[in-house]
Symmetry: D2
Subunit: 308 residues, 4 copies
């Protein structure tokens, strides 16, 4: 089987300051579907297109940010093997029992060198996208708002991105796809990694602030949907950080904006497909503006400094 | 590593009736780049975006059609293992030496139950896409004509598609993504298989005519490029079979047309991403029109009957 | 003032076989908004974007087809002058009083040489598009289904298209934009006329069947909306005649389909802008396929023969 | 005839600092076609789609900026009448003889209250778009670079925009389409005027710097072309001021950038159609950010201050 191991970003738990305001935002503006609430008050969402029970979990808290990042893996054997590999590599793991997250099987949790909390799982109830598997048609029903296709990836920040890169590439089977080198021409300032044929499933940026998140990202259908997303954000008074624009890195087209708690999110589309016979792209420090914002070729302060 | 085994369709050798007329067509209308000619007179092409030396090889012959279909695999170990697995499964293999195709390493060839000739290889000279791997920018240079991104997949016909499905799924690691069931509700009339995260890397259709090809397919960037491709075809008197349209199967948007030799080709974009936790879609016989041509929900005779 | 005289197609009264079924279709699939019903049972609709009270009026009848075609003119002085000009040209007119159509001022009605019933009016209540005129924003609210921007034009059939052309160009100030010549190279088989900067506001086709309609046409925002319209039609079991495709004539991109009564409608976008320093385009009879269906360059029988 | 009087922006003469560098830019990056050079060294360009001999004239000078703005009118009678109307309104006019600009008939020149030099003309040699008027097809040949459809409009600055508005609406037949009111709720800070069915053919902004230009604007085919234009600019080291983005005013989607002399230009598409039964849109001062840059709802200093 060609697709094995870690499949994709599966879920993440986002801290929000006002739960009901955030539920409204993610329901009505982002257009996610609420699929459940658990005993601890967490609210579960999926996109209209996603088949699994949830991808975004909201937890009310005093500070914004992300509690943990979950990847779905192929099956139980993969989960068990990856846990053994992690332990062998020297990373402590924790097993969380099935049911700790709604409709989700057991999870293997670990902390990466950048101090982010990751978890692997292979079981989550398939609630479907409303089309079924027999004569499905093409239009996923009940779309509203921005209506992304899926939770796609995260960009997260921390000090030891070399350590996290080694862990993800050596143990979890990720590939390095793009990198920005620092002024010394040696140090990786940011890296884009994939576990699939996407240009990125996760990105790490070197930052003194360990265990922080720059953005969670949602995939859209087309550049026209990127425009409609920007229009929808503005019509709903969502604060747009930057965009629409194209990235040099990944070649995706995108918008960045903030949820009501100040968590940055991305709605993007496009980007090339990754195959493992490709070499990683390298961007030099003098071209970092072009790498990030291909059109203006200049970064803005807010994009560089705000993380949660 | 998450992407392993068979990576993707890598090349195919197409028979054309008039070589120079076909070279003009694939150069000027399709917008492929000629990368070489070998001692036997074959002409090699790649798309502007492809990095490997070639994906389409033209051979002049008395009849149109496809000589063989090549998949790139991850590395030598994969090639050797897949050859062993084929032999163990009872499929005879043949090793073709490096250099038999220009800039291409050794290939392992075998015949599938549908009588098509397949081959696996892992080495082909990377000639690049003109952007390089350092500060690449985003616009692949030297695009003209239809300018597809890549050779994407093939739809091929033969009697024993059950046999080919078993071979591809059990030995080569492909996954079944979609299927059309016959009137009996049991027989697979057509199957779509992937070795990656694409909705299909190859499709087999049940047909009395063994070792025939319905179309080779090229990926485009967007639905607007599909329109431009149709405009470009018409401006160049290319005979369009059908389209632009959307498929029910794979949800891609597409045009079918014929090259000067009568080989059908597709230029398409879109379609969902495949993950192995997805169940295969099944289309029933009464919905076959919707499955193939989602908008008109009716097949045309030419689409059903012409193969080469 | 640069835009004067006849402004645009303003409304038309369509005969439908089953009123409530048609109301459902035009409301839910086409996405028009019902704005009123009158004492005679007629149902009035506007698109979300249109500001005037209505553009499509449905009347239940035993046969499908169009009762009359209304153009909005600039003001009362224009209406009075055009009536005088019609009379002077030898065309009888009839004044219909304000209120005969809901929220509509007096209308001047006449019959063209092709036996179609036309009317001119200048007053209709502005109900708005929901954005208002102060800080309007950009997203017209309450869009659903196909959600066209406006009723755009009609293609209508009759014997004496030369007579109708003369009437529209000499009296009503329309310009000839495109024409298809017959086999003799002389006779106009079809003509496209504009009263504005559009490539067409009305088209006449030579046909033995006087006072028939080929289609009423709705404008969409983009080629991607054309695709979504086709998807929406199929998902709602609307019978698509042909498309998506591009026209040679006008260069618009389009779909043709049928409403539940068998009235053909078009949902299209694009086409060049007309300026009166442009010469009319002429298509010769041997290129009629290319003129109509630019991609396939061949007409289908149904498109040629079905009118209501 | 419904389209009469002033038809559209027809040409403008742009001052550039280095003629050959500018010729290269407008030829290779913008993708205009050079159509002639005159005895005084001026270089004439048209877009691929434009039929008239030229729309942009480059003149080498010590300062950037625009020498004059020309509108094409319907015919000689219109030219003569508008000259009489200007004189009667108290505006001095000057007749420039045919041939003063290459392939152009006589022009009537006048200075508007904002001190910009305007001219009207009705004759210019039609060199065509390469498609002809018989069986034209749809793809305009020889497109390269950004390849706009046409010179579309200008935004120009000066003190007495009330005076210029009165002149354009009362004498030249333009209509007011949108306006931004100042903090007092009374003063027009900027106005958008049309002489056709476009959302704007010219815009005036209140500014102490008389006879200055904010940008000249080129129309593109689609939002996807806006993206490609931005990509093309960046690949050619063109300095992008802002965009891609959507305007609140006109609802167009756009990019602003600078030519090698520092003249700002716009490449845009979209926007609603104007009809004279529409009321003007008013934007209040507190929504000026939304009016101009709909997504970020905030202006940038450079956009506000740089004119040439």
């Amino acid at each position: 089987m060609a697709m094995t191991g870690v499949l994709r970003p599966g879920h993440c738990q986002l801290r929000v300051l006002d739960l009901e305001e955030s539920v409204k935002f993610y329901s009505n503006v982002m257009g996610l579907k609420e699929t459940g609430r658990d005993a601890s008050g967490r609210v579960y969402f999926k996109t209209s297109h996603e088949r699994d029970h949830h991808s975004v979990i909201l937890r009310e808290a005093d500070t914004a940010g992300m509690d943990f990042y979950g990847f779905k893996v192929l099956n139980k054997a993969t989960l068990d093997k990856l846990e053994r590999d992690l332990l062998e590599y020297g990373v402590a793991t924790e097993r969380l029992p099935a049911g700790d997250l709604l409709e989700t099987g057991e999870r293997v949790r670990f902390v990466a060198p950048t101090k982010h909390v990751f978890e692997l799982y292979y079981e989550k109830t398939e609630v479907g996208d409303g089309l079924g598997y027999v004569n499905p048609g093409v239009l996923v029903p009940d779309q509203k708002g921005i209506a992304p296709i899926r939770l796609d990836h995260w960009q997260i920040h921390g000090k030891d991105i070399d350590g996290s890169r080694e862990l993800f590439t050596k143990v979890l089977g990720f590939s390095l796809v793009e990198r920005i080198k620092g002024e010394d021409g040696e140090t990786d300032m940011a890296i884009w990694l994939t576990c699939s044929a996407k240009a990125h499933d996760i990105a790490f940026v070197r930052d003194e602030r360990d265990n922080t998140v720059h953005h969670l990202s949602f995939l859209l259908e087309s550049w026209e949907h990127v425009l409609r997303a920007a229009d929808t954000m503005s019509a709903n008074n969502v604060f747009i950080d930057i965009g629409p624009l194209r990235h040099g890195i990944t070649r995706g087209t995108t918008i960045y904006a903030f949820d009501p708690s100040g968590n940055r999110f991305e709605t993007f589309c496009g980007g090339y497909d990754f195959y493992p016979d490709m070499q990683p792209y390298t961007w030099t420090w003098d071209e970092v503006g072009t790498a990030i914002f291909y059109h203006t070729r200049a970064l803005n302060e807010r994009f560089l400094t705000v993380v949660t």
